[in-house]
Structure formats: structure tokens, C-alpha cells
Symmetry: C2
Subunit: 336 residues, 2 copies
Amino acid sequence: MVKVAINGYGTIGKRIADAVDSQDDMEIIGVAKTRPNFEAKIAIERGYEMYAAIPEKCDDFERVGITIAGTIQDLLCKADIVIDCTPGGIGAQNKSIYEDAGVKAIFQGGEKHGVAEFSFNSACNYEDALGRDFLRVVSCNTTGLCRVLNPLDKEFGVKKARALLIRRAADPNDDKKGPINSIVPDPVTLPSHHGPDVQTVLPHINITTLAIKIPTTLMHLHVLNVVFDKKPEVYNIKAVLEKAPRIRFVSAADGITSTASIIELGRDLSRPRYDMWENCLWDESISIKDELYFFQAIHQESIVIPENIDAIRAMAELEENGQKSVIKTNKSMGII
Amino acid sequence: MVKVAINGYGTIGKRIADAVDSQDDMEIIGVAKTRPNFEAKIAIERGYEMYAAIPEKCDDFERVGITIAGTIQDLLCKADIVIDCTPGGIGAQNKSIYEDAGVKAIFQGGEKHGVAEFSFNSACNYEDALGRDFLRVVSCNTTGLCRVLNPLDKEFGVKKARALLIRRAADPNDDKKGPINSIVPDPVTLPSHHGPDVQTVLPHINITTLAIKIPTTLMHLHVLNVVFDKKPEVYNIKAVLEKAPRIRFVSAADGITSTASIIELGRDLSRPRYDMWENCLWDESISIKDELYFFQAIHQESIVIPENIDAIRAMAELEENGQKSVIKTNKSMGII
């Protein structure tokens, strides 16, 4: 059993903890948190040992009745691997304490590629991750793009990909951020960072991305436009994407007409926290007239969770074959 | 003085009435309305004679103290030209009463091209509109696309244009429509109607459009991607668009970072109803690497107003030269 520590128990950290907990070849040995809020209390209820991410704050936890098992340093001593789920930029600052503790570390997409010198997506480069000490799981948007572009590129050769990302303004639990009633080009200059980020995983893909931010919290939406070397038909595209992992087709004919109805689907499927771990790709939107277009929705809170599990498995060399790890992760999490 | 009647005094109708009122070669001889709401009262205050769009409803107006000058038929008898500003689809139903009254008619973009067999944009086809009896001013989104694509095509040859329209869900005064917190591919199938609609004005432009609907009321946002026959640089693009009418460059460096700040600009400029009649194009977004990209915001409530004024002038043959009409309209409305 690989011993996994989680540093940072927010949107991503709490989900990874639960996903690790559902595997039979790895275990959560503790989670580190800065503040003793309701999420900390639920972590305790779930049986995760709590560690103080900031040693001076141990008392804050004890004061609200949360028993602290130690500090982040204590946690790192016991771990084989730590998943850094701290806010973007903090992971880079944490790298030295992971190195000092001699523990392998996974960073999230909020960090730059340089923090680990290796950016990961399960279906794209699992085998290159085997045995690594440091690894970065790319962000939700980059993960969503890699999942579709990689299989399409392998089959038809991507000559040029263009993607517009309509980004949710904030996560559902965040009531501090805007916009509340406007459209924000973000960034106003081109390209957005997502295109170069895709190239950290798939360096040969010619891609341009743009992004805007809008008043919604549920999911991102991607509009993809891809030109290929070959001339696939719509059914060829569907056949390739149906075989690719973690892509779910949704259909307006079924009543899935918006990101709101996708989330309702997640709730009705009894998904934990209604998470949609797959790219949700609209069947009817797939269109080819010289070039491919389609819409896909990306659940920003959860899409990278299964990739983190695969990353643990690769770095700990629990499984040498990426496809097998993906199947194992999917099965344990309930991704069909 | 060309005698202008307005049929339908809502978002578009009330704006066109005021814009006609500010011209020296045309005058408002009356507006027809279905309901005696606050907008009707303000119309009376502004000195517009009120006519009942539905003859049976005259009493409703009298009851709230609004003197009715007659019915829509009475109004049409006195008019040289009627601007149909009724909700989409109603204009087509009205066409026969305009024909019976022997009055020229302008329809809005909510009607199909066939209603007038001629779709208009001031800078694209003014001269073809001279003396016509029926004309359709294309919708806000189509107007916004035509204004930029036509001059770019003339100068550099548009090989392929791709546009994604991020549409406001409803106008600011409409509190009945959604979405409130989601992203809606609208339509989910491709293309959206806007591309074919651009081709009603510019038939030779190879364009694909997609549209989504989001929770905002202020403006639409367009993301354009254009491939040219020639190879212009950013400064060439700017030079062409700076000369084209009704395009306003906005800059994030000036603090114009979203549709919300564009509207704040409209308010600070003391524009009537804060209307932004121009395409608002982000300076910093203009980017060329093989192909052009940029962001522009489109004020759905007002962008077609100056085109309606030019259309009146062309149909009444008040001015044979489109450029001169545009300059005259702009000057009278305060568009620099």
C-alpha cells in the first residue's frame, strides 16, 4: 500500500483524499490543512488523520475539538508520496520541504510546468511518469483539452487546433469573486496560457487558445475547432472519442441542454459531490465541414481527480501500463 | 422631411424614434404601441403622437390618461416609411398592412431575410438600398460581424472567418429569462444562424459561427478568427478598422476590462440610455500569427439604431452616397 499524504484540503484535496481512499493499492495516511473549518471536521469524520499545515496553528484546531496528529513535517516523514493541493503558487514554495523529507510529490495545474519539469495526463504520457519523484497534473482545462486532442491527433493528425474557453468565474462555494453580470476577456491579450500548457503534455500539437470569464459557477465550456491532416467524418470522430477514456457524450435530445443539466445529471447519478470526472461532449455539436467543431463542458472541481490517482500509481510504479491504471481508477471511482 | 412611423415601441423602437428625432431630414409622425406602459408615457412626454397598434386597445390607453391619435392604420396613412420594431416574426405578419397602406417598410433582424428580400448594413450595401420599398436591418450580432468583416475583406481578402458569439441571456429590462447560472450552447447543433445571416449581406464571405448563451444582460461578446488571402500585420488591421465606421477601440490599459466597464464608459459619456452604438473592439486582443484573432463587444440594444437611420435615408433617396449618410447619422447621434 502506497502511503499518500494530502497537503491542502480544499476543492481538489478533499476529492483526491476520497478517491485515494477508494483504491486498494494506496491509502491516505493523513491530510494537512491550514484552518479548522467545516471541511476539517468532515475529514475527521471520514477517518483521515489531521495535520497542521502551519505548525503555529495547531492550537486553532485543538480549540474546536479537532485532534491534531502532528505538523506537516510529521506527516511527510510517514508518506511515500504527497499530493500538493495548496493554492496556485504555494506548491512551488513547498517543493523544498518535500525534497528535504525525501518524499515524492504531485503538484496541481496552478503551478508552473517548471515546478516538476513534467506535466501529466493519464492517457497522454503515463509511461513517462513511471518512477518520477516530481510530477504536475495539468489544470482542469488543459486536462479536458488533452483528453480529446491526443486520441484525435493519433488517429487523424491534428494540423491546427483552436479552442475558446468560456470559464466559470468562481467555484460554487466561492461567493467573493465576480463577475456578476458581465463578460471578461481573460486574458485580453492572446493567447491564453492553456495552449502552451497543452504543449507541456503534447509538445507537437499546434494549438491556439483564448479564454473569457463569465458569471457562472458550475462548469467551464470549451468550443473546439480542429483541422486534421486526414479527412474524418463525424462517425469517425465519434468512434475515436468513444474509445478514449473519461469522455462522456451528452445529448440535447436527452434534455442535456446546458451545464446546469449536466450537473443535474451528476446529482441524479448519486456522484459524490455531483462530480463529473469526464469531459462532457455534446453529441449533436460534433460537426465537420472541412474542419471539426464541437462543444464540451468541463467540471473544474473534479476532472483532474482520476488523473491524480493514475499519477500516484505511475510514480510509485504500482502499474506499468497506463491503460490498466486508467481502467482500475475508473472502476474504483465509478467512471464507466 | 421624410415622415417616419414607428410600429412597436420597445427596446429598438424607442431608440429609433429618438435617433430619427435628432435628424434634420426626417421626422417622427407617430409611434404605435400595444400597451400603455411607462414607455408609452415617456413617448408622450417626448412629444411623439401615440397610436394604438391593436385598434381594440385604444381604451386601455385613454384609461391611463394617454391621448390616442388613432390606430396603426391611421398612422400608416400619414407615413412615408414605417419602421417595424415589433417582436421577431410579427413583422412578417405586418407586411401586408404596410403593402395595403402603400408605405415603405423597414424590418428588424428578428425577421427572416425573405420578409424584405434585402438585408442591409450601412457600410456594406447602402447604395443597393436606394429607393427600395422593403428592407431588413440585420440583427445586432450580424451587424457587428458585417462592420468588421467587410472592410477587412476588401483590404485583405477573407479566406475563412470563424466567430463564436457569447450571447447575453436577456436584455437588462427582462427579468423573466435565464440562464441564471449556466452555459447554454444555443444552438447545440452547428452552425448558428448568424453565419448564414452575414451572408445575406455579404454573400461571398466564407464564415462559420457558433453561439452560446450565458448569464449576463449587458452585451454580447464576439471572438473572431479570420484567415486572409494576404498577410496583414496587426498595424494593418488596426489601420483598416480605424477608418471603418462605427468601430470603437477600447483598451484594458485604460481600465476597460469587461463588458461592464464598456457600459460604465457609455454612462460616463452621457450617452442616451448609455447606448454603445459602435462595435467595441479590444485593442490589446488584436493578434496575428498566421491568422487574426480579436475580441469585440456588441451592445445588443443599440448597435442597429444608426443603421436604421441610414436605411431610411437610402430608401427615401435623401442621400445617394452611403458614406455621407453614415457621417450625417453619426454626427447627429454623437458617434465620433
